[in-house]
Every structure is written in structure tokens, then in C-alpha cells.
């Protein structure tokens, strides 16, 4: 029997040095918050365990997840992880094309049955038999189910695969549907964001391929290591929130002073993501640091939740678009007026019946 192929073999073959490999292990261990022995654990796993193939498929999406992924901050991480995963199938960045590419899928299904990772960017539209997204001559939803059948686990990249994103915005004519509503019998990890942060993506891929299992997930199926806290919990403008110092207008004094963007509709208080800690573009900045509120891009339904620039969410259920204060005050106003009228009627009736009593 031929010796099993490990990730280490592959990485070395791709020209990555031993030194770079150990550096990569330390970096990854640190970004996953694994503690001092984490690096050794990762190195050991990559050197001894059979490599886990990654199949990366694209449904209805804008490719922002791929764009983010290939810009992972540390060039080392990018090189290693790309060489780790580009081996198999990613129709956007792979060399093979056409029948040759499709043959890889069949081969992986057979050779690595139950062992490969299926990473999905985008989602399948279900309307009209799935014909709104045709991939390799077949509706994407069929290809997705077919590849999911023999996968070990599925990574749902970004807001599209996790929640639906803008292609699922009301009234969702193509019936774009998140992965976990289509595939029910496989472990699914959601890595939401539009796009997710590059370091979060490489961290998740490395963890799963290295240890052959999903990291600890939260209630919504997101990895705890990156999604257990809100933007608001670690936002550097939080002291201004607690103090009560808000930007009220984009060009006011508070905006210049960098006060909290809550009143400008910042969704940081309801958004779980790592932006305020990991940040973007190699830790350079993130939206709030650039003076714009969080739009909640990693949250369910963020595209349908009313204006990005208002604190209170619009409610559609009542026919007209109004926020909770407008609806509530209107209701309380109507009741208040009714109470006042009733009180007046009561007073009149009392006077009238008193008069009647006298005359009787």
C-alpha cells in the first residue's frame, strides 16, 4: 500500500520550506487562540494525517468571499492555505476547466467518500426547478446535493450560503435559499459576513482540514472562536456609547471626534463578527474605524431590515413602513384619545343622570 499523502507532503512539494511551515503553524495556532501547544498540535496533524481535500463550489453569489479569502493578511497563510485547497476543485481559481474539471468532482466523491470538505460560496435558487443558476449544465441545487452526499462536512461561506443575502431579498423571485435549508443530513458550519474576514476564513479552513472536525459552534452554527461576541462588545468607540456621546449628523463635531455611531444606525450592538478585533485588510481598519456604522452584514436578514442609517428598525407587517416608536405612539395616541372621549362621555352622562334623578 502506498504511503498516505499528508498536507505536509503537498506543501513541501509546492515549494514551501520547513521553516515557513512551522511559522504557519504558530500563526494559525495564535489566530485560533489555541494556546502554547497549539502550534505543535497543528504541525503534528498536518505531518501525519491524511490530507483532507476541499471542494469549493459557487452558487448564486458575487465572489466577494473568494476575493476576501485570497487576500488573507499574511502571505504565508495565503500560500499555504491556497496550496492546501487549490489542489482539488474551485471553478473560479483552478487551472482545469470543462469536462476535465467536472471529472475531478466524480473522482473526489469516489476516492474520498465521507472524507472531503465541501465549501460552498453562494446559495442555490430553488424556483423553477433551480434553473436560475446552472452550473456544468445542471441546476446548481442538484450539483450541491450530489456533492454534499459524500462530504464529511460543509462550510457555508458568507451571508449568501449562511442566510441568503441580497439575492434572497424580498420578494426573492428566484427563491435563493441558504445551504442549511437545503442540506439537512451533514454538519454545516456557517461563516457569515459579506464577505467574511480573510483571517476568519483561513482560520476555519485550517482548523477543519487539520483536525478533521468542525470547531465548536454556537446556536446558529457559527464558529465560537470568531463569532461569539458582537462588534459592539469590542468596539473601540464603546466608551463614547457608554458616555452618551453620539454622532448625530455625518458632518457634526461628534463625527470629527470619532464618537459612537449608534444614532447613525450602527448595527454593531446586534452583529456577531470579529471585525472589531481582527479588523480588515491585515488589521488596517474596519468600517467603524473609517467612520461608517456597521450594517450588520453577517446577520440573518440584514438586507431586509430597513435603513442602514437609522437606529430603529422599520416594520413592514403593518402595511406601511414605520418603526416601533411610530407605531407604538400612534396606538397609544388612539387609545389615549379614546380614553379622553370616554371620560368626557362619562362626565356628561353623570351630569345628565343626576339631573334626571332630581327631576324624578
Amino acid at each position: 500500500m502506498a504511503a498516505i499523502e499528508t498536507f505536509y507532503d503537498v506543501i513541501r512539494r509546492q515549494g514551501v520550506t520547513r521553516r515557513s511551515f512551522t511559522k504557519f503553524c504558530s500563526l494559525t495556532a495564535a489566530s485560533l487562540g489555541m494556546g502554547p501547544i497549539g502550534a505543535a498540535k497543528i504541525a503534528n496533524a498536518l505531518e501525519t494525517k491524511e490530507r483532507t481535500p476541499v471542494i469549493w463550489m459557487h452558487g448564486l453569489e458575487c465572489t466577494c468571499c473568494s476575493e476576501s479569502f485570497i487576500r488573507s493578511a499574511h502571505p504565508l497563510v495565503k500560500d499555504v492555505v491556497l496550496s492546501m485547497i487549490s489542489l482539488d476543485y474551485d471553478d473560479t481559481i483552478m487551472a482545469a476547466a470543462g469536462h476535465q474539471a467536472e471529472a475531478i468532482l466524480q473522482e473526489t466523491k469516489e476516492k474520498y467518500k465521507g472524507k472531503y470538505i465541501l465549501a460552498v460560496e453562494g446559495n442555490p435558487p430553488l424556483n423553477e426547478g433551480g434553473m436560475f443558476c446552472i452550473d456544468g449544465g445542471k441546476p446548481f441545487v442538484e450539483k450541491l446535493k450530489w456533492m454534499a452526499d459524500d462530504a464529511m462536512a460543509i462550510i457555508a461561506w458568507g451571508a449568501c450560503a449562511s442566510w441568503g443575502c441580497v439575492q434572497a431579498a424580498k420578494p426573492n423571485p428566484t427563491q435563493a435559499t441558504p445551504i442549511d435549508k437545503v442540506i439537512h443530513d451533514k454538519p454545516i458550519i456557517k461563516v457569515p459576513g459579506c464577505p467574511p474576514i480573510a483571517e476568519v476564513m483561513t482560520g476555519v479552513v485550517t482548523y477543519i482540514t487539520t483536525f478533521g472536525r468542525l470547531p465548536e459552534l454556537d446556536r446558529q452554527g457559527r464558529p465560537n472562536m470568531f463569532y461569539s461576541q458582537r462588534i459592539h462588545d469590542k468596539c473601540y468607540r464603546r466608551p463614547h456609547f457608554d458616555a452618551g456621546q453620539f454622532v448625530e449628523q455625518w458632518d457634526d463635531e461628534s463625527a470629527r471626534k470619532g464618537h459612537c455611531l449608534y444614532k447613525m444606525g450602527c448595527k454593531g450592538p446586534t452583529t456577531y463578527n470579529a471585525c472589531s478585533t481582527v479588523r480588515w485588510n491585515g488589521g488596517v481598519s474596519f468600517p467603524i474605524q473609517s467612520g461608517h456604522g456597521c450594517i450588520g452584514c453577517s446577520e440573518e436578514g440584514f438586507w431586509d431590515k430597513g435603513p442602514f442609517y437609522e437606529r430603529l428598525t422599520n416594520i413592514h407587517q403593518f402595511g406601511v413602513e414605520k418603526n416601533a416608536d411610530e407605531i407604538g405612539l400612534a396606538a397609544a395616541g388612539v387609545v389615549g384619545a379614546a380614553v379622553a372621549t370616554h371620560a368626557a362621555a362619562t362626565a356628561v352622562k353623570r351630569i345628565v343622570s343626576k339631573n334626571n334623578d332630581h327631576s324624578a
Binding site: 448625530e248 431590515k305 437606529r311 397609544a332
Partner: protein, 239 residues
């Protein structure tokens, strides 16, 4: 919702009282709870509104102020008081008198309930000359209390603690007990909106509640407001 004509009103010597009967309705724990709860809810409404639409920016360094911090603290503190009160009041429903259970159910299975409810509605619509007399709540009040107070309070406590758990972290007891709310609304923005709308149901309840209490006190010839202070219900025109 016992009809006054159906109970025997007796004094401590077991003798029938002839005129101006008095019944002990609201026991001390209920009265104490009522006013603590009313105060807590008042604080919750004011601070809750200010969480949704904060006060204007304060000048100076962030380290000199804690405006939003105090507002949120007051909200959470009052919220905890309200929640504990809710639990204790629930416990008293088992320990207290018959009236202590009234706000926890609506006796829809009783034909007399519907008849009396209709009578009460007609009384409020000025179609009846006089209201029926009740020792506890009248059927309309009982229905309003159950839906707009008991159910809504439970809703506010559940959604409130779910929101609170977000700050406390996924391993907090709040998250363990109330985190399931996020199965219903995966985006907590939605929970904020429902929690906010819930406030207006309670505001509406309070408007009606205080008006009805004052009106009944004047109109119905039985004590209402003082009942919630002394616990005793006086019937001003005899039984």
C-alpha cells in the same frame, strides 16, 4: 370574579354585616408587589425609550460621563426587580386567596364569564345603568390583566433577558435560560424591535388601567384605588 351577591360577608364575629360591607381582597404581598412593579415598569419605560432613542450628546471627555451606562444600568436593575417580582407574584398565586389567582387565567369555559363580560362591555359603552359588583376584578379587567399584563410581562422578561444575555456572553445563565429566543429570531435586531413594540402594549395597558381604576372608583360605588392600598374593598351602597 365572585359576584358580591353570592358571598356571605361576615365580620370577625361571624355576624352578617348589613350596610357598607367591606371585604379583604388584595393581601399585603399583592399590594406590595403591585406598587413595586408599577414603579419598576415606569423606570423600564423611561429608560427603555432612551435606549432606543438616546439623549443628545454630552460635551467633554468620554471618561467624564456615563450617561448611557447609567440609563442601561437602571433599565437592567429595574428589569431584574420586575422579573423577581413576577416570580414572587406567581408563587403567591398558589399561596394567596382566590383573587390572587385571577390575573393568571381567563375562565373562557364558564358561560357566566361571557355573560358578565358582555355586561361589563355594555357598562363601558354606556348601555347599562350600573355595573355588577365584584370582589376581585371584573371580567373585562381580568381579561385585560391576563393578556396585556401577565402575558406581556412574561414576553418582556423573556425577550429582555435574551437581549441581556448578549452582553453577558454565551456561557452566562441568562444565555442558557433565554438564548432559545434567538432560534425564533436569529437576528437580535428583530428581538430589539419586538421588545420595543411590547413596551407600547404595556403603555397602552397602563393608560386604560389607570383610567379604568379612577373611573370605577368614582362611578361604580365600590372602592377601587384605595383597595390597592389598604387591600379592602368597600361597597358604598350596601350589598
Amino acid at each position: 370574579m365572585t359576584d358580591i351577591s353570592r358571598i356571605d360577608v361576615a365580620d370577625s364575629h361571624g355576624e352578617k354585616v348589613v350596610a357598607q360591607p367591606t371585604v379583604y381582597v388584595y393581601e399585603a404581598p399583592v399590594r406590595l408587589w403591585h406598587w413595586v412593579n408599577a414603579l419598576a415598569i415606569l423606570v423600564l419605560i423611561i429608560t427603555g425609550y432612551l435606549i432606543g432613542s438616546p439623549l443628545p450628546t454630552v460635551a467633554g471627555e468620554a471618561s467624564q460621563h456615563f450617561v448611557m451606562g447609567y440609563i442601561r444600568f437602571a433599565h437592567f436593575a429595574a428589569g431584574q426587580i420586575m422579573a423577581v417580582g413576577f416570580l414572587l407574584r406567581g408563587y403567591w398565586a398558589f399561596m394567596g386567596n382566590e383573587h390572587s389567582r385571577q390575573i393568571y387565567y381567563v375562565p373562557v369555559w364558564r358561560a357566566s364569564f361571557w355573560k358578565e363580560l358582555a355586561h361589563e362591555i355594555r357598562w363601558y359603552a354606556f348601555l347599562e345603568k350600573a355595573p355588577m359588583k365584584y370582589v376581585g376584578h371584573n371580567p373585562l379587567a381580568q381579561t385585560a390583566m391576563f393578556v396585556m399584563y401577565t402575558l406581556m410581562s412574561a414576553f418582556m422578561i423573556i425577550t429582555g433577558f435574551a437581549l441581556y444575555s448578549e452582553g453577558e456572553g454565551a456561557d452566562s445563565w441568562e444565555a442558557k435560560l433565554f438564548g432559545w429566543v434567538f432560534y425564533i429570531w436569529p437576528n437580535s435586531q428583530e428581538v430589539h424591535t419586538w421588545h420595543h413594540l411590547g413596551m407600547y402594549v404595556i403603555v397602552t395597558f397602563i393608560l386604560i388601567h389607570i383610567y379604568a381604576a379612577v373611573r370605577e372608583d368614582i362611578m361604580s360605588r365600590q372602592s377601587i384605588i384605595s383597595s390597592m392600598i389598604s387591600g379592602e374593598r368597600h361597597f358604598k351602597d350596601g350589598a
